[in-house]
């Protein structure tokens, strides 16, 4: 019916009773069958949005449409959604089978026990938890509980699956494994999924697209790679990327970009990348550590404070204007702490932001 905008959120607002404005005018849409990540630091409002989609919270204003129909006044149980909670919320007194069967044995759409069991077992097979059927959640590992939670969410054959930080209670190695499993599982079932996380790597690896939130506002709604290559603003540039981006305070005057100890001519920049006119004034020049490298004719002179090994690469740490900055170099670099070096930026890869964080270049 409405596959491009299978889930549509329009001008959504949420103001809590205490006056806190958790969500400020948020609009986005999700394509049918997509896995979309809602990404953001804690307290950015991503879980609030998920709760409103589920009907656990009422929006202050705005509309939510599933498959073209508004669901704002629909009870959670009638929204045809599945929900996986951060702590899984499994019923501790029921066995795995009873947990998975539960949604089929309550409410208006109750079905016969043997039928319910057959459906439950089908989804338990998909999530590979058949052999755990008679165990209680307390006896299971984190990863197993996770699968039970997903099986329970899927058993009513919902149209939309909502997952709230489902991996945050798992240890690092398991997290990598399960996130791949989740992606292949939801793709296999073909269900439209919204996945909340605060972990950018998780979002980048799992999501068909990512919506990044901060302070209750969408910062960027885009494909994963664009958060690196074309961040909308200063916040996005700084939130995404590991190691984090380097920021230099600069002044623009007389056709030059001036920092405390280097200068770049505006004419050297790629003129096609300007989003708007670069007027004289103060700005922030940002560059990812992989795009500022040691070079004899570099613009920036730096004194190396420390060299840190991270797997296949090394990070050179240096201080510029009292702020720490980084350069990402390969493993074999001869540079040692306390060396004085020159660094060169790839000017077609730098970003320029206004002090308010708006992107200029």
């Amino acid at each position: 019916m409405n596959d491009e905008k299978f889930v549509e959120v329009k001008n959504l607002k949420k103001v809590y009773d205490n006056g806190h404005e958790a969500i400020k005018n948020v609009s986005f849409s999700v394509k049918k069958g997509d896995l979309v990540c809602l990404l953001g630091p804690s307290g950015c409002g991503k879980t609030t949005i998920l709760n409103m989609l589920a009907g656990l919270l009422n929006p202050t204003s705005g509309d939510i449409l599933f498959d073209g129909k508004s669901v704002v006044n629909t009870e959670p149980k009638d929204r045809q959604i599945g929900y996986v909670f951060q702590n899984y919320a499994l019923y501790p007194h029921m066995t795995v089978l009873q947990n998975v069967m539960f949604p089929l044995t309550v409410g208006k759409h109750k079905i016969a026990k043997d039928k319910a069991k057959a459906i439950a077992e089908k989804y338990m097979k998909t999530t590979q938890i058949m052999e755990l059927a008679d165990q209680k959640p307390g006896q299971l590992s984190g990863g197993q509980q996770q699968r039970v939670a997903i099986a329970r969410a899927l058993v009513q054959q919902p149209k939309i699956l909502l997952m709230d930080e489902p991996l945050s209670n798992l240890d690092a190695r398991l997290r990598l494994k399960i996130r791949e499993e989740i992606r292949s599982l939801v793709k296999e079932v073909g269900i439209t999924t919204l996945f909340v996380t605060h972990d950018q790597e998780e979002a980048l690896s799992i999501g068909d697209k990512i919506i990044l939130f901060n302070n209750g506002v969408i910062q960027q709604d885009d494909l994963g790679q664009n958060f690196y290559l074309e961040p909308n603003n200063y916040f996005v540039a700084n939130f995404v990327g590991n190691p984090v981006i380097d920021n230099f305070k600069v002044k623009v005057a007389d056709g030059k970009i001036k920092a405390s100890d280097f200068e770049i001519s505006v004419s050297d920049l790629d003129q096609n990348r300007f989003k708007r006119e670069l007027k004289d004034g103060e700005y922030v020049l940002s560059v990812r550590p992989e795009n500022i490298l040691p070079n004899e004719d570099g613009h920036v002179s730096a004194h190396v404070d420390d060299v840190e090994l991270i797997g296949r690469e090394r990070i050179l740490k240096f201080t510029h204007d009292g702020v720490q900055a980084r350069s990402l170099v390969n493993l074999e670099t001869p540079i040692k702490p306390n060396d004085d070096i020159k660094l060169k930026m790839r000017l077609d890869r730098v970003f320029i932001f206004t002090p308010e964080g708006e992107r200029v270049y």
Binding site: L56, G82, F85, Q86, Y91, P92, H93, F102, G107
Partner: protein, 274 residues
Amino acid sequence: MKKIRWGTLIAYVILVIFAIITIFPFVYMILGGLMTFQETTKIPPTLIPKNPQWGNFSRVFAQAPFARYFLNTFITASVTTIVSLFNALLGAFAMVNLKFKGKGIIQGILLSLLMVPGEAIIFTNYNTIARLGLLNTYIGLVLPFLTSIFYMYYLQSYFGSISETIYKAAKINGASDWEYIWRILVPMSKGGLFTVGLLSFISGWNSFLWPLLVTNEDSMRLLNNGLTAFASDAGSETELQLAAATLTVLPILILYFIFRKQIIRGVVRNDLKG
């Protein structure tokens, strides 16, 4: 080392003395109930009856309708426990899981009522029951106690410790509130409900002032009132009084020894008062 051992020894001696002081009245009650009249009033006092007088108990049953007292007490304590637990369960569920206007006010009123001593309202309640013509009835005995703010408050703290995502999950899974209560909340809080039930039953069993006010017919008396009446009537027959006291205390004592862990844990958990 020597010093520490002395401390421990003194501590043990004091503990044992107080333990004896605590247990002695119970022992004396049970043994005294099996003595002859002469043995109970002998100087120096007897502790162990020569021939246990099991007949004392049948004489108690013959002189006063103790079977009836038992039945009355059992009915009143059970009904009070079941109904007040049910009401407390529903109320605590609403206070913990539902959002509504006026919740804060209700909570405030209930909490301040918790401080009202029962003795301050028991006489006016008597007046109400008398006006309703319910003196000497089971309904009159139980009516003011069919709800317990205290147990509701206790259950609130119990339910509050269950993660709220469990309720949200149940809602999304399509369960109604009623289904949530009976299929999730109750099975998950079995321990707490059981403890509250036990304590409620015990305090119902031991109630005295209220049944004293609202019953004056022998057939409607509860155990403790029957016991005091019996003690006055059988004033001279000490051994029968002790036998009757044993009858009153023993069922609860047995219940206590079976469930001592749950009872003590329940009392400590919320500083439950009797």
